[in-house]
Symmetry: C2
């Protein structure tokens, strides 16, 4: 069950001027589920993306990068679930291209104005005919207030739909931000098996939008892990439709930080939602490593903790078997780490220091914290000023069940 996460109400996902969303049940893999999503953007929208670093990146990811580089003005996005179109070679590229051409034709666009996205099983051919057959229905129900349907249409093993909105004021004009995401397994930075779409009606320069997506992804989707697997298909898209009548935001605008932080907040909420809905998750863990010499060493330690199956199963069992955390700190690969000068906290409780259990620690304190649903693990290295926070979940029977059964 998702950890303290419920699907948003349709009304809470605010429409973004210039963005319409339509869906279809195209039976890509399974019948009777929304599995095709079309998003259209007003003319003069600006679009930026961040994509997986997996060398086996999927065909649609390759096309997305290509089309964004061509700068012909992205006007539509096409997403399918059920098949990742990854590990599909030349044929996969052709099928992704065909789907873009089909949508472009229906919308009177060029195919390089359509960004394709796929998520689902790897190494199987995309049933592109089914995707294309679903397009007229999706186009017929394009609406600005379709964000919840859109969030549902991109789910795979997700249990709840993920979306959130914010409103801010820029140069006296109300600006809306709405985002949706999907993903719950194969979740790891660079990036998750995840798709994320965040739109704003603000007017933003291309350079400012590029800067914001990099900032936001480093604070959000690049700080989560469920199972350490980096997907072939991860894509985060940030869209600005230029419909809010604000003065265009550049990197030098006084309001740049205001917009950047609001978009980053949305990205963090969407990223955390993915962890809260992590496959089989029963606990949400925040891992903070501070006092490091560098962010890099803080990240190494944080991820050693967040990836350890032994730690994740102990959290599942609400067992304060905290020595496993010390072990992970010890094998994180920091050659000159002095284990005698660091502290380990669980919530507010000092658990270990001076290379061993803290004198003040009592197991009932650990047990009480382990029973909570949201747990903070904090490591203080006392050797510098760097600090990193990441989010992960525990490892349960259901993780195995979901992933053992995924294709059946």
């Amino acid at each position: 069950m998702p950890v303290k996460l419920t699907a948003p109400q349709a009304a809470s996902l605010l429409s973004v001027k210039g963005v319409s969303l339509g869906f279809a049940q195209a039976h890509v893999r399974k019948p009777n589920r929304k599995d095709v999503l079309v998003i259209t953007l007003a003319e003069n929208s600006r679009v930026v993306g961040v994509f997986t670093k997996n060398r086996f990146c999927a065909a649609p990811v390759l096309l997305c990068k290509d089309f964004l580089a061509q700068q012909q003005g992205i006007r539509a996005l096409l997403v399918n679930t059920g098949c990742a179109n990854a590990g599909t070679g030349e044929d996969g590229l052709k099928r992704a291209q065909l789907s873009c051409e089909a949508l472009a034709q229906l919308l009177n666009l060029q195919s390089n104005q359509v960004l394709p996205f796929s998520t689902g099983v790897i190494l199987e051919p995309l049933p592109v005919d089914k995707v294309i057959a679903g397009l007229p229905v999706a186009i017929a129900n394009l609406q600005e207030d379709n964000w919840l349907n859109a969030a549902e249409a991109i789910m795979t093993t997700d249990i709840v739909a993920k979306g959130t909105s914010r409103q801010i004021e820029l140069s006296g004009k109300k600006v809306t931000i709405t985002g949706i995401s999907k993903g719950s397994g194969m979740i790891h930075p660079n990036m998750a098996t995840m798709l994320g779409y965040i739109a704003t009606d603000a007017a933003v320069s291309q350079a400012a939008l590029e800067s914001i997506i990099q900032y936001a992804v480093n604070k959000s989707f690049n700080c989560i892990t469920v199972d350490g697997d980096t997907s072939t298909n991860d894509s985060l898209i940030l869209m600005a439709t230029n419909q809010a009548a604000n003065t265009e935001i550049t990197e030098n605008s006084a309001d740049f930080v205001l917009l950047r932080d609001a978009l980053t907040e949305v990205a963090i909420e969407l990223a955390q939602a993915i962890v809260r809905d992590g496959e089989g998750a029963t606990k949400f863990m925040t891992v903070t490593v501070e006092g490091g010499k560098s962010s890099e060493e803080c990240r190494q330690i944080a991820y050693a903790i967040a990836h350890s199956p032994l730690i994740k199963t102990a959290f599942f069992a609400s067992d304060p078997n905290l020595g496993r955390i010390l072990a992970a700190i010890g094998y994180a690969g920091i050659e000159d780490l002095d284990v005698n000068t660091l502290q380990l906290y669980l919530g507010d409780v000092l658990v270990a220091e001076k290379g061993g259990r803290a004198a003040s620690y009592r197991e009932d304190q650990g047990t009480a914290i382990m029973k909570e649903l949201d747990i903070l693990v904090r490591v203080v290295l006392n050797r510098g000023d760097a600090k990193v926070t990441i989010w992960t979940c525990d490892f349960s029977y259901d993780y195995v069940k979901i992933n053992a059964d995924y294709r059946s």
Copy 2:
């Protein structure tokens, strides 16, 4: 259940002249189980060791390294299960030292002639009084043919005892090698939560013995992983008692390779036994990556495959969801990897090439292989001559169960 692994017969574990083994039920953590092992060595034995690289290495590991460096002639080993004496700071060192002093006194040795070993729960104080109280019983039953009892005495979450023997001839003299090991969780190179003790009655120079243990560990214990967790306590000890009356083996001896390879065979069998008895294991997987530019990149890819929870759960389910293997190859961190020129085989079956599924591949072939208990995953990179083989197991409900319940 262990994968194609049964405990050795007592008679199959051959006595090694100069090595005696005795055990006790000392109730270190649980009653009615062998949990203390004493091994004594004839005078003039030579002993070398390889230990965990975890920065939080346990107190006994620190003492082992110290005592081996002092070169006073190791004459005894003391092993306890139930408590790892790791993450225990200064107090842990004192307790480990106390246990060595107690055994040294009973055997009329100096304490730096006794190597201590602990395995079990981390972050809890070693009940050293219980260990010491068990020593007289262990000493009373010291025998040369106690190898199976010894293998049982070092088990923790292991299901079956692990041991094997070999005999070879060196300069016309029969030489015996016997080894035992333990470990089934927190298993990862550098090294596993594992203890290994291999003894031979051969006469071997100190330098040759050092050379052999490095060679053997790199071919065996450093090639296994169950869960990617590197333990605080891993120790492999190689002992040569100089009782076989062979001409002393040096690195220049004609027979050096013969002895080295026989000891390495034993180490490989003991290491593989740990994976076959991996926590919750139902499948044994051999992962070979060949045609790499370097061993390092082959290892990176092999471990990316072997650590992926998504792959391990698919093997548990006998589901040829092979795209997950491509994804792992892709995120292994080889920046210039060309996914279009590599091949992926499952057993003898070509599964993927040219960036996608092989034209000749049929899913029933994959399904048939996935149902086997021993499965070979082979990646051919076609960019060099390097080759690496590692061993791992699948990821099942029982892994979660065992590790969620471990302390209760």
